[in-house]
């Protein structure tokens, strides 16, 4: 094979590899169903990174495959083309420049999405979530209600006020794409806007001791009427 065939070879290999990734993760999506306004931003950040990374993976693997096919020694006396290194200054500079620009662009994109995820401080509902080994306690100050199940109102912005009574815990609902540690000695706010009615699971995702595995709770997103009714009912 001649060196000129490298571009078509790598292009085809990269396209095939990238296509295979997208086919597999189109059939089995990499992210579970999304159920919050914040999830849309996280997923858009993820999709952007996934597209760029599968392309880079395809190009690098394609190039290595090409070298494996084209540049094998037939006898043990053969030596590679040593003059190649001295010609490489332009490649080095271009590579560093391109990767720096790409990296900074990714970081800028990430910063923009992060801002969107965090959003402002305005909230329709305050919900206190108190973590302790190995359970969650939920308190609704406006309604003066306690419970272990987290009720949220569809389409409304909630300020989750996170505290911990003992060690570090972490609040995570995979469908909401948000995670926030509950740290003893700190009061931490997490803004959350559920958008799809249904039941979800709240998982403690920071190892908090022996029974960390069992530290889960139920989450239910209700429409306005059902939420108001729930808040007036016996818990």
């Amino acid at each position: 094979m001649k060196n000129k065939s490298v571009i078509p070879f790598v292009a085809v290999a990269a396209a095939l590899i990238t296509w295979a990734y997208h086919a597999v993760f189109g059939r089995w999506p990499m992210m579970p169903a999304a159920a919050s306004a914040e999830a849309a931003f996280v997923d858009s950040a993820w999709n952007g990174l996934f597209a760029i990374e599968t392309a880079i993976y395809g190009l690098v693997v394609g190039f290595i495959l090409y070298c494996l096919v084209a540049f094998r020694a037939k006898s043990r006396d053969e030596q590679g083309d040593a003059s190649d290194r001295s010609r490489g200054r332009l490649v080095e500079a271009g590579w560093i420049l391109a990767s720096t620009i790409l990296t900074l662009a990714l970081a800028a994109f990430g910063a923009k999405e992060l801002r969107a995820v965090v959003g402002g401080t305005h909230a329709d509902h305050d919900v206190e979530v108190r973590a302790s080994q190995f359970s969650w306690e939920i308190y609704y100050p406006k309604y003066n209600q306690y419970g272990s199940k987290l009720f949220l109102e569809e389409g409304k912005r909630h300020r989750i006020i996170l505290t911990s009574k003992d060690v570090v815990h972490s609040f995570w609902v995979p469908e909401f794409r948000l995670k926030q540690d509950a740290v003893p000695g700190k009061v931490i706010h997490l803004m959350l806007t559920p958008t799809v009615k249904g039941e979800y699971t709240l998982l403690c995702s920071e190892l908090c001791g022996a029974d960390h595995t069992t530290m889960t709770s139920l989450v239910e997103v209700l429409d306005h009427e059902a939420f108001e009714e729930q808040m007036k009912a016996e818990f």
């Binding site: 990374e53 993976y57 030596q79 590679g80 570090v168 998982l203």
Partner: protein, 583 residues
């Protein structure tokens, strides 16, 4: 051998008796700490440490020993220490691997089958810390000790006695870790986050902290030694532009050992103080700060992953030119990139803390810094790809391992970007996505890098070659098995599989069972590896001084090299990778 047994027995006796006797006066935890310090000195003394110290004060050369017994002694020859490190690495790797098999057995189905929650946590923590030790010592401690002095043309390390001390601090640490299941178990994972780690009175947690501290000091001593050796003992003619890339990577890793490990050691000492002296550094209930521990811990522990991976980069960059029969592409900037990674590694730690509740504005600079590491890492890839271009590749086993490492680390590096990216990390943090990512970097990168180095330098170490076909079979099994275990873990992580839990929803069963089954392929590869080593020691092909026709100095010494390494001090007259260059 009797020496070693006597040392271990006396150390264990002092530790057990001291903890028991003093425990009645001081309380068990302070007693255990005091006894451990005394036991460590007794053990090192019986082993031969005092003799070495006395000979040093008299200005004598360290005593010489011969035969296989020297490997069980406080021997100061860097090649003996290197082999000791490699043997210890393999032993700890087998222990950690066994823990992994136990975990995968439990995780094959939902529900708890064989272990309780605490038992699972203990096994998981021990797997984590033992594999961390393996990754820290395998290439730097084992291969580095053997190869670096040879590669720079030195007779030995700069501080041979300290070198032996670095190694012999490890066995007590391993014994302490193995004792933790019988002393209350561990419930905190290898990161030992406060205040979980400062609470409770179980001795197991304290054993873990003392073990971690011992490994830390071992690593600091090793770092100082490598830096002194490379700075002051290079052969005549070896200017900085002629230092082999593997030695560069060990320099970079040693800088981190020196600057980072001291910080984690001090934070662990603070945790020990919180436990035994009732200080309140980290427990907020008593006025401390939980986040302070995380900052101190990650300030070291993020650079520590580069102690693991930089020498693996060095190993593959060393091996690829030899088998590509071409100079290392972009050699000067590749060396600078290793140092750039070292520098950047100290300003990225808080990317482990995007969900921790630290000041939100800090997320941005830590995200930018972290993603910038992909620039020097990209240069390492450029060096690999540029060297392969127009090469004449010989696909011997070390080269196959190096290419497998590159493919694995590519996945590990790329999946690190969504974790460095703050918005996606909010979802991915503390899930199995992270677990899969760091296994691709640490196992796929550092362990495959160690395998590359091991197969490359094995003929120099033993004088015999490993069987090429068996080595390739092992590589294929490990590559396929490893990928089959860990690729599904990315997917499980994004779908709600948290780290460090023993149980999961029933619908995950098919994927989990698949990953558990694939673990057996990895186990099979390890069996092939051990068989290949044992077989080659008896019947392996005699290698000669330079079986790969490489140009660096270690290949000019006999295989295995005698005490003092070179008959006449070597001089360097050309660059290390002048393959195909007409003189």
């Amino acid at each position: 051998m009797t020496n070693l047994l006597a040392a271990l027995a006396s150390g264990i006796a002092v530790f057990a008796l001291g903890t028991f006797a003093l425990g009645r006066v001081l309380g068990p935890q302070p007693a255990a700490v005091l006894s451990y310090l005394v036991a460590l000195l007794v053990y090192l003394g019986v082993l031969g440490g005092w003799k070495a110290l006395v000979s040093w004060t008299r200005g004598e050369e360290p005593a010489e020993e011969h035969g296989w017994r020297r490997y069980f002694n406080f021997d100061v020859d860097h090649k003996v220490v290197g082999v000791q490190y490699i043997a210890a690495t393999l032993l700890v790797f087998l222990v950690g691997g066994l823990m992994a098999l136990i975990m995968r057995l439990e995780l094959a189905r939902h529900g708890l089958q064989y272990l309780t929650h605490v038992e699972y946590n203990t096994v998981m923590t021990l797997h984590g810390i033992s594999m961390t030790v393996v990754a820290l010592i395998a290439i730097v401690g084992g291969i580095g000790n053997f190869v670096v002095p040879l590669q720079v043309g030195a007779r030995d390390m700069a501080f041979p006695r300290m070198n032996a001390l670095s190694f012999w601090l490890l066995p007590p640490a391993v014994l302490l870790l193995l004792a933790t299941p019988f002393a209350g178990g561990l419930d905190f994972g290898w990161t030992a986050y406060a205040p979980l780690s400062t609470r409770g009175t179980a001795l197991g947690k304290l054993f873990f902290l003392l073990a971690f501290l011992s490994v830390g000091f071992s690593s600091i001593f090793g770092g100082v030694n490598f830096l002194a050796t490379v700075l002051t003992m290079r052969a005549k003619g070896m200017g900085w532009t002629r230092v082999p890339i593997f030695t560069w990577s060990v320099i970079a890793a040693s800088i981190i050992s020196l600057m980072g490990t001291s910080v984690v050691a001090s934070s662990l000492v603070m945790v020990v103080f919180d436990r035994i002296l009732h200080t309140t550094f980290f427990d907020p209930a008593l006025g401390g700060s939980a986040l302070l521990y995380q900052h101190l811990f990650w300030y070291y522990s993020h650079p520590a992953v580069y102690i693991m991976i930089l020498p693996a980069f060095g190993a593959i960059l060393e091996v690829i030119p030899v088998f590509a029969r071409k100079p290392l592409f972009a050699y000067p900037i590749a060396a600078v990139s290793l140092l750039a990674i070292t520098a950047l590694s100290f300003i990225v730690w808080a990317h482990h803390m995007f969900t921790s509740g630290m000041w939100g504005v800090l997320k941005i600079p830590f995200m930018v810094n972290t993603e910038l590491i992909s620039v020097p890492t990209g240069v390492v890839f450029l060096a690999v790809l540029g060297t392969l271009w127009r090469s004449k590749m010989r696909l011997d086993a070390p080269m196959v391992w190096a290419l497998a490492m590159v493919l694995n680390f590519l996945v590990g590096g790329l999946t690190g970007i969504p974790l460095a990216d703050a918005p996606t990390d909010l979802h991915l943090h503390d899930t199995w996505f992270v677990v899969a990512h760091f296994h691709f970097t640490i196992m796929g990168g550092a362990v495959f890098g160690f395998m590359t180095a091991f197969h490359h330098w094995y003929p120099k170490i033993t004088g015999r070659k490993l069987d090429d076909a068996l080595a390739k079979i092992q590589c294929a099994l490990m590559f396929v098995g490893f990928n089959a275990v860990f690729i599904p873990l990315f997917w499980l992580g994004t779908h709600g599989m948290r780290r460090r839990v023993a149980d999961f929803p029933e619908w995950m069963d098919p994927v989990q069972t698949f990953a558990s089954s694939a673990t057996l392929i990895v186990a099979a590869s390890v069996v092939v590896f051990l068989y290949n080593i044992i077989r080659s020691l008896k019947t392996g092909e005699v290698a000669g001084d330079n079986p790969w026709e490489a140009k660096t100095l270690e290949w000019k010494a006999p295989s295995p090299p005698p005490h003092g390494n070179f008959k006449t001090p070597p001089a360097v007259t050309e660059e290390p990778y002048g393959y195909g260059v007409r003189a």
